[in-house]
């Protein structure tokens, strides 16, 4: 293959950016993606059998016959030349390696938290903190109910002061939009300080 003269750009194609929607299993990630996406959320699956999996991992998985890990995502066209993708990350943190570039180059992330079991989102918070990926916390109320003020949840999650904690309803478009805007505002504030 010559390979040297392959075209690596298409000027008519839009720029693309992405935001990750993370959090524990069943916390409402796909619901949130669906609430703000202009398309019905799409799903792509990777077979779990290929590289990198430890024997222990495979053992458990085979029993459940779950041989793929799914990734759900949606799209928001920001303008004619800019498209934002929202990726609902796999609930099980240890499967993130299936998409090497999932977190790479993301603008930031929303960590969704279920107030009934906030610990299920600890791993996601750790993941972004350790990689220096900016994030906000969206507290997804069960049936829209919010029994705790954001500050109590901040304490429970032990997230630093500069990380916003917002109450939201993953089923509501406006509510999800506001969480995304809060993330971007946080990024803008950081950029202005820089």
């Amino acid at each position: 293959m010559a390979g040297s003269d392959v075209a690596t750009d298409a000027s008519s194609a839009p720029d693309t950016v992405k935001i990750l929607i993370a959090g524990g299993f069943g916390v409402g990630k796909t619901t949130m993606v669906g609430s703000v996406s202009e398309i019905v959320p799409l799903r792509t699956e990777e077979p779990l059998t290929m590289a990198g999996l430890g024997i222990d991992d495979l053992d458990g998985i085979e029993e459940k016959r779950a041989t793929t890990v799914a990734l759900d995502f949606g799209r928001i066209t920001i303008s004619r030349d800019l498209v934002l993708y929202l990726f609902g990350t796999p609930g099980q943190q240890r499967f993130w390696f299936m998409w090497n570039d999932l977190a790479l180059g993301a603008l930031g992330a929303v960590v969704l938290v279920d107030v009934r079991r906030p610990e299920s989102s600890f791993a996601a918070i750790d993941f972004f903190e350790r990689r220096g990926i900016p994030f906000v916390v969206g507290v997804n109320g069960f049936h829209g109910a919010h029994p705790y003020p954001p500050e109590d949840i901040r304490d429970a999650l032990a997230v630093p002061e500069h990380v916003q904690v917002l109450l939201c309803d993953a089923r509501e478009r406006q509510s999800c939009r506001d969480v995304l805007i809060a993330l971007i505002d946080q990024l803008i504030a950081t950029a202005v300080q820089a």
Partner: protein, 119 residues
């Protein structure tokens, strides 16, 4: 990895790639956009039905993840097929917008914010 015969387990989607499990280039990340070259170069060998389906789906620019979802194939498989098409001069690829933590792009962020505000 790489060799088709060493592993015990067969993963069906990779039959489409002739057993290759890794793309030959790293361009095809989730939100890289691909576009079919128009007009297509003269028909060459090695165009499987899946290649043809991809070309049809990327007549307009489309992200790799979206292609994979619409083809109902793993991203890793689609990336390998896209390598074939790129090397055959049948598609172009545009990498995602670069996001820098040390020098954030304020214009980009404001653009995203305005777009979200219009939702």
């Amino acid at each position: 990895m790489g060799g088709g015969d060493s592993a015990g387990r067969l993963v069906r989607p990779f039959a489409l790639t002739g057993g290759r499990t890794r793309p030959s280039r790293a361009d095809f990340t989730l939100i890289a956009t691909v576009t079919a070259v128009d007009p297509q170069p003269d028909a060459a060998a090695r165009c499987q039905p899946e290649h043809t389906r991809i070309l049809r789906l990327c007549a307009e620019p489309v992200a790799v993840a979206e292609l994979a979802a619409r083809l109902d194939l793993p991203v890793s498989v689609v990336a390998i097929l896209l390598c074939d098409l790129l090397e055959a001069g049948r598609i172009t690829v545009r990498p995602p917008r670069l996001v820098s933590r040390t020098a954030p792009d304020l214009d980009l962020l404001k653009k995203v914010r305005d777009g979200l505000g219009r939702l």
